[in-house]
Amino acid sequence: MRLLVVEDEPDLLAGLVRALRKQGYSVDTAPDGEEGLYKARDTDYDAIVLDVMLPRLDGWELLARLRETKATPVLMLTARDRSADRVRGLDAGADDYLVKPFDTPELLARLRALIRRTAGQTRTTLDIGEVQINTAARTVTSAGRPVTLTAREYVLLEYLALHRGDVVTRTELYEHLFDESETTLSNIIDVHVFNLRRKMGQDFIVTRRGHGYCIE
């Protein structure tokens, strides 16, 4: 899952990025509105965390311009909590709204819900045969047995599970699993898929030669 955080307060940005990376998200950052808009247009993020008060281009404007071309889910962070402001944010195309100061667990839960909703899921558990993925607790069980996964492996599994039935290309996986700061080996995806197959069973993830991977 790849996220963009647009926030001008460096300490807050650093804290958010750390918290999100710890959850296995790949996180890109932008310190102002213009750069935020550029990155949001350039990359297909799974979600954008957007502060309202930004230098150069404020959150409202960024959102309005982004919505001309993309429907990336946006969670807005704001210091204004009047219901009129909330209505304005939601009307402008924000998918959720979080008022500062917030608890990190709440932000994470809202992001999960946002990504789940965008993928057309309403429940926090995904059932694939005997495998059950709990997206809230980030745990996976296979035939009732807990499966231990690394953060990356979990994110890869969750992404494929959320797009169940679709063929997900390696490029797409790269885009969503790694952020701009990471220089990755070209076969890292294959390594993760190999490890997942080892833990979940060989047939769990199908390889479509020349296309990508798929959970059926």
Partner: protein, 487 residues
């Protein structure tokens, strides 16, 4: 308003009193003038007749060859007693044998035959006191006038006005008239004056009432506006039509004062809101980083404690910011908007259910008794009221105690009451519990989530909804908060 302390009534009283005095003085003067004129006119008529009678008597004198035409004046004793006196009417009773009839010209004689103003009469006395002659119209028992300093005099005898003359002959001529008609006229005139004066007084009082009503109307406007302002609507101003009058100037001065007050309040509320806003981002930074620190594996117990303490402090600041903003918003009157009908019972049920885990944690049982009740209000704020009251009731309870939440409709008010079995509020604390940052239980002041603003916010919300909040408490027995909201 006290009748005697009302400016209008006092003004009216003095106004009426002055007007009555002026009217009475004026009326009395007019009556006196009229009376004097009447008397003078009557006296003139009488004098005229006196002269005729004197002339008629004098004309006879030479024919009688006695006494000499000119007598020394005043008449002396020793004048011939049998001096004849002419007259055309014999005196009443037995006329003296030598009584003469006075002969007046016909025209003048008619003047003694009565008329519209009552009959004139004359009586003539001989210097020795005998009646020489009298007109037919003369009443009986007219006494001889006493000699005064001058040969002429007048007197009022009952309703008879009489003029008398002592001519040089030494006789005494008296002409009189019954003036009861004139007196009645005067009385009628007095009544007329009284009536007219009364009418004028009434008109004056009505006019005074109208004027004072007009003059005092701006004061009424001012006090009504001030009353609205004192209930919290600082945007209210006194509306004056005339700005140049004294009251208009007063209104302008008051308006300027209200504007400054309003501005000061707005500034204060805005400052609180701005300060709280500015705190949001740093507190978020603190919460995010301490949470990250807590989430990372950490072997150092001291670091862990530091993160935990900072996290708790951050959470408290978060609550404080929210509370301060809520109060600033309520102070600025912004919260009055967004009213809609809402079900108070459903609101109370939902909110209480959310607090049930907290109650269980504290070992307190929650009881609800909810009647369907609809009231007009802001659902979010009313939910806050229920949350604050119920969580206070849970928090300040004893283990094993209970909290009872009741919603009902009484007359035209929606009533929400929250009763607990806690330690109650002491007499010293009771007047202050709705004050900002006041905590009755100072020992428990540092528990997260209790900012000391909860009841202040609750009261502000309830009052913004036009309702009232009351507390009944007994130390050691528990407290009961009752919120009344208009339907």
């Amino acid at each position: 308003m006290n009748f005697f302390h009302s400016i209008r009534w006092r003004q009216q009283l003095w106004h009426g009193l002055l007007l009555a005095l002026v009217l009475a003085g004026f009326g009395f003067a007019a009556w006196r003038l009229r009376q004097r004129d009447e008397m003078r006119r009557i006296d003139q008529e009488l004098d005229e007749r006196v002269s005729w009678v004197v002339r008629a008597g004098a004309a006879l004198r030479p024919l009688q060859d006695r006494p000499p035409p000119v007598h020394p004046w005043p008449p002396q004793d020793g004048l011939p007693p049998d001096r004849p006196w002419p007259g055309d009417h014999p005196a009443a009773g037995n006329p003296p044998p030598d009584m003469q009839q006075l002969r007046l010209p016909e025209h003048e004689a008619n003047l003694f035959d009565g008329g519209p103003g009552g009959a004139f009469y004359y009586i003539a006395w001989h210097p020795d006191g005998r009646e020489i002659s009298r007109s037919l119209s003369a009443p009986a028992g007219v006494p001889h006038p006493a000699w005064a300093d001058s040969p002429r005099g007048s007197r009022l005898r009952g309703t008879h006005r009489e003029r008398f003359h002592f001519p040089p002959t030494g006789d005494c001529i008296l002409v009189g008239r019954d003036i009861s008609h004139d007196l009645a006229d005067l009385r009628r005139f007095a009544w007329l004056l009284g009536g007219a004066g009364g009418m004028v007084l009434l008109l004056g009082l009505a006019g005074g009432w109208w004027i004072s009503t007009r003059a005092l109307r701006p004061i009424g406007d001012i006090s009504a506006a001030a009353a609205r302002i004192s209930t919290g609507d600082l945007t209210e101003r006194i509306r004056t039509r005339d700005t140049d009058s004294e009251l208009g100037q007063l209104a302008s001065v008051l308006n300027a004062t209200f504007a400054r007050l309003d501005e000061a309040f707005t500034r204060q509320a805005r400052f609180t809101a701005d300060a709280a806003h500015e705190l949001r981002t740093p507190v978020t930074v603190m919460l995010t980083h301490t949470q990250n620190g807590l989430d990372s594996p950490c072997d150092n117990e001291e670091h862990r404690e530091a993160f935990e303490a900072s996290q708790r402090a951050g959470q408290r600041m978060r609550h404080l910011i929210q509370s301060l903003l809520a109060l600033a918003r309520l102070d600025s009157g912004e919260a009055a908007a967004l009213r809609a009908p809402c079900d108070l019972d459903r609101l109370a049920r939902d909110t209480t259910e959310l607090l049930r885990p907290l109650a269980e944690e504290q070992g307190v049982t929650l009881e609800v008794e909810l009647m369907p009740t609809r009231c007009e209000g802001n659902e979010e704020q009313l939910g806050q009221v229920v949350t604050n009251l119920v969580s206070n009731a849970i928090f300040y309870n004893r283990p094993g105690g209970s909290v009872r939440v009741k919603v009902s409709t009484e007359a035209d008010t929606a009533v929400l009451s929250v009763c607990d079995t806690g330690q109650g509020v002491s007499r010293e604390d009771l007047p202050h519990i709705f004050e900002r940052f006041y905590r009755a239980d100072k020992a428990r002041a540092s528990v997260a989530g209790h900012t000391g603003l909860g009841l202040a916010i609750t009261k502000a919300i309830v009052e913004a909804h036009g309702g009232s909040i009351e507390v009944a408490t007994e130390l050691g027995q528990g407290s009961s908060f009752t919120v009344k909201l208009p339907l």
